[in-house]
Amino acid sequence: MCLAVPGKIESITGERELRSGVVNFGGVQKEINLAFVPEAKIADFVMVHVGFAISVVDEAEATTVLGYLQQMGELGELEELK
């Protein structure tokens, strides 16, 4: 129910509450309402929930999670524990 899926904006039309666009989800394209992400541009990734984009995905933050362990310098310690 609360899941949102990331997709890439391919085109944008309309304004204000009618702002919408085509979003590509790994090859599947859908028309999505973009009214709640006025800052989103073509090629941005957005989180989409029930036909609405609810946020623009921050790519730098997305990579942070993946690199978190290394950044905290824990990887070395953990290797030693093996």
């Binding site: 129910m1 609360c2 949102a4 009214a35 992400v37 029930v50 999670v65 362990l69 524990l81």
Partner: protein, 371 residues
């Protein structure tokens, strides 16, 4: 797909799990609030991997599960009418009301349709001017902007044969209900990432301070959950109780402001009944007075309908993290996803259904050996 596959990286997940086990010097109980997270946790066996150190409690986080019986009854009643096209997300169809469900209403000839978005329902209303189109507006704060938009556009475009049956529930009051219960076991929370994407996480600060409990806004992929748990463990181990944001790629501190603005126009905060839990003050959205003409309860005269809940089902305790699904005597026997007794078995985000799908055999064995 980008951002999805990477977050399911097995090796990184194992590193996180090891870090959690190393840093936790004693057992901790952490509650995930969202059913989407429960599903990930059970599917990827994250609770099993951490079992020796962390107990993951499954919270009240599935709007389908907590929708009160009478709302399902109201939906069935409206959907039975010959002039109505009743639209809902698919998972609401099998939720049992006190005597029937929407799926049965449909099988008996009711025009019940599954839609992906409330905007699909609005389109149907435009295309069928001689029918009344009703949308079942369930959900947490995450779905509220979409539902608000459908109502807002209906009014702007003068579409008068459209209405919504609203059953919106809010997460912070549910967290407070869990924390203030005398049998509470939860020591930290993973807050639901997409609820916070919409609402931000300001409103969790007073809760975290008042109950001295860490709250970490967390995403839905296996790595997100593991990192969220690690952040909770670090706070617990250091005696801190703060609100932190693991899911910063989607969640900003103040949330999605344009979405909140529209929610504020279309909805107002009201008390709501939660299935299995009872009424929680200020815990839901209802339509604001200016949009009352789109309220399906008023339009179809079902606002006063109330009913009692089934006494056998312990979904209320499951929802508050007090009991696990397999502790219910009906689990897997009289209650299955095909014949659900309670809502936590119906939606695949419900804790009972998740356990049934992934844990049925072990659960039975475990219960058997306890006896």
């Amino acid at each position: 797909m980008k951002f999805v596959d990477e977050y399911r990286d097995r090796e990184k997940a194992e590193q996180y799990a090891r870090a959690i086990r190393t840093e936790a010097t004693r057992p901790w109980s952490i509650m995930e609030v969202c059913g989407g997270q429960t599903h990930t946790i059970v599917k990827y066996a994250i609770d099993e991997i951490l079992r020796d150190k962390i107990t993951l409690l499954h919270g009240p986080g599935c709007p389908v599960c907590v929708t009160p019986l009478e709302l399902i009854d109201k939906a069935c009643e409206i959907a039975t009418r010959p002039d109505v096209i009743f639209c809902s997300y698919g998972d609401m169809l099998r939720v049992p009301g006190s005597h029937t469900d929407l799926f049965t209403v449909k099988a008996r000839g009711g025009d019940v349709r599954i839609v992906y978005s409330p905007m699909n329902a609005l389109e149907l209303a435009k295309a069928n001017p001689t029918k009344q189109v009703v949308f079942f507006a369930v959900g947490f704060e995450t779905t509220a902007p979409a539902n608000a938009m459908a109502v807002f556009q209906a009014k702007q475009q003068g579409i008068s044969n459209f209405s919504v049956l609203v059953s919106h529930v809010l997460v912070p009051p549910a967290i407070e209900a869990v924390l203030s219960a005398p049998d509470n076991r939860t020591q930290a929370f993973l807050a639901a990432g997409h609820v916070c994407t919409v609402m931000g996480y300001e409103e969790y600060r007073p809760l975290s301070e008042k109950y001295r409990v860490p709250i970490v806004v967390t995403g839905f992929e296996p790595l997100d959950i593991l990192q969220g748990v690690l952040m909770c463990v670090r706070q617990l181990e250091n005696g801190r109780a703060e609100v932190e944001n693991q899911y910063a790629r989607s969640v900003r501190e103040f949330g999605n402001v344009p979405a909140q603005d529209l929610i504020g126009q279309v909805f107002r905060v009201i008390p709501r009944k939660w299935r299995g839990v009872g009424e929680i003050p200020q815990s839901g959205f209802g339509l604001a007075a200016e949009f009352a003409e789109y309220d399906a309860e008023l339009r179809f005269g079902v606002a006063d309908l109330t009913v009692e809940e089934d006494r056998e089902c312990i979904a209320g305790e499951v929802l508050r993290g007090v009991k696990k699904p397999q502790e219910c005597p009906a689990f897997g026997g009289r209650c299955t996803p095909d014949h659900p007794l309670g809502a936590t078995m119906v939606s695949n985000e419900g804790a009972c259904a998740a356990y049934y799908q992934y844990r049925r055999h072990e659960a039975k064995a475990a219960v058997g050996s306890e006896r």
